[in-house]
């Protein structure tokens, strides 16, 4: 069965600094991968998704992610964080036949001035 590991439970970053959130997946074959963001007291919102193709995927609000089959990774990046990026970020994996998504435990991002 597929699984997702987000090794960093919490990340603290200064406003304007760059951000990288790590995601490792386990799946036999080529997966479909997603990053979602959850702002306080809200549901999950899609940031970006990877379907087989270009390994670098652009998302909303300046986020991008890079798929690496050799490393089984799908790391999320942002060049310059804003205070509004304070949230929990979830990496998720699916395939063409499974129902729903399998989520990682999430990374809580705190942004300080």
């Amino acid at each position: 069965a597929q699984s997702v590991t987000q090794p960093d439970a919490r990340v603290t970053v200064s406003e304007g600094a760059s951000l990288q959130l790590r995601c490792k997946y386990s799946y036999f074959g080529t997966p479909y991968l997603f990053w979602y963001v959850q702002y306080p007291r809200q549901g999950l919102q899609l940031l970006l998704k990877y379907y087989p193709g270009d390994p670098v995927v652009q998302g909303v609000n300046g986020f991008e992610a890079e798929f690496s089959k050799s490393n089984s990774s799908f790391h999320l990046r942002k060049a310059s964080v804003h205070w509004s990026d304070w949230a929990v970020y979830f990496c998720a994996v699916s395939d063409n036949y499974a129902q729903g998504l399998t989520f990682g435990l999430g990374t809580r991002v705190s942004v300080f001035p």
Binding site: L46, G100, L101, L105
Partner: protein, 113 residues
């Protein structure tokens, strides 16, 4: 813009009571889901419905039951709540059972006293 609507936002109840949560999507999607998010933010799929038919029923206690009147609605009933049912319940939808992008509602937070 929100297109998956959940009610209520919050619900406080006592052990043994019955509760029901509503979910409606206006995206024209064929598949709907219920996820449970615990206090540590862990997300687990509970049920998945495709065009009014149950297609995923993960190992959840029998006191939980999904109810679908049409493909735009998927409600969740808990027959006799337990303290461990305290969580956020997230409803989501997607175009069909093989389309992996999920769109989430804002969630219903349940507190069981």
């Amino acid at each position: 813009e929100t297109a998956v609507f959940q009610t209520p936002n919050y619900h406080v109840t006592q052990v043994g009571n019955e509760v029901s949560f509503n979910c409606k999507q206006t995206l024209g999607h064929d598949t709907m889901y219920w996820y449970k998010q615990d206090s540590k933010k862990l997300l687990k799929i509970m049920f998945s419905y495709n065009n009014k038919q149950l297609i995923v029923n993960e190992t959840v206690p029998r006191r939980f039951s999904p109810q679908s009147s049409d493909k735009a609605h998927l409600n969740l009933r808990i027959k006799s709540v337990e303290p461990e049912d305290s969580a956020v319940y997230l409803c989501a939808s997607s175009w069909d059972s093989s389309q992996n992008t999920l769109y989430f509602g804002a969630g219903t937070r349940l507190s069981v006293l």
